[in-house]
Assembly symmetry: C2
Homo-oligomer: 155 residues x 2
DNA sequence: TATGAAACACACTGAGT
DNA sequence: ACTCAGTGTGTTTCATA
């Protein structure tokens, strides 16, 4: 079900238009979508379902304010595991709820993690756990010139 | 309207339950939410609207498959701007559609960017532009032990 | 694949507690 | 702040082109 750019579905302009509309408002209903693309509601429903089942639409997300949840501080942590500790690091990242994202990457550091904290002085709690399995480098987020955004759609 | 953990709204268990339900399915309708929390639909709607207006619910997102859009490669790029080039880097990040995220951070490197590419051999196109304003360090994402996930809710 | 009609469910409003 | 009830839409299925 994962897909390449060769997906026939994305060669159809109306599908792309539906994605564009849904991106602007993921909760837009079938009827409204149908009006805007000039089709009947059942047809639109069918198309959106196909886009979901093809894995082009991965899902719908609720975006919450981390600060409101008590995690106003955000940081990136790179982890360079000690020999043999690589799986332990991934495991630990999975287990810690403060870790909202963890990627295995090329380069001197093997992992890039994004974490959220209630305060800066709670950073050590997290780092200490990773330091048991390797070295860490931390970059605290000061501001966000480009907040998470979508990639361009075809055409 | 941004909010701290002291938000009264999050001290109410039913609000937290609503957030939890909406996190599992952001397109769940008012009626369904109402059934699950044992309240009337208008009451639920009122609560969700408050959560939105308070900035606790930041928004709803459509998550698309980058590979399906023709961007199967993901990388983190750290940029260390040359003296005086700092605003240029942020500007450039904003302008490039491959950049899906850009943060100003502490540490030797001033920016962390997340980028998506159609192929590995298209990395230079992006890096060259940043290299005009400073140094870059690139980490290509090989796998993702923890895909983007939400923070824990109160209680 | 698409549409149109029909049955059903939902969202929204206003009045009342 | 919540419920209840009424109205207008929206959603979904099915038959059909």
């Amino acid at each position: 079900m994962p897909i390449g750019l060769q997906s026939e579905l994305l060669r159809d302009r109306r599908n792309v238009e539906l994605l564009s509309l849904l991106r602007d408002d993921p909760r837009m209903g079938t009827a409204e979508l149908a009006r805007r693309v000039g089709m009947s509601a059942p047809a639109v429903r069918e198309r959106v379902m196909r886009l979901e089942e093809a894995g082009i639409i991965v899902g719908y997300r609720l975006e919450l304010n981390p600060a409101a949840l008590g995690y106003p501080v955000c940081a990136y942590v790179r982890v360079r595991p000690a020999p043999g500790q690589l799986p332990k690091v991934a495991e630990l990242a999975r287990r810690l709820p403060q870790v909202v994202e963890c990627h295995r990457v090329t380069g001197d550091d093997c992992f890039v993690l994004k974490i959220h904290l209630p305060a800066l002085d709670r950073l050590d709690e997290v780092l200490d756990q990773f330091l048991a399995h390797g070295q860490t480098t931390t970059s605290i987020v000061q501001s966000t010139p480009v907040p998470l955004r979508g990639l361009p759609l075809p055409d």
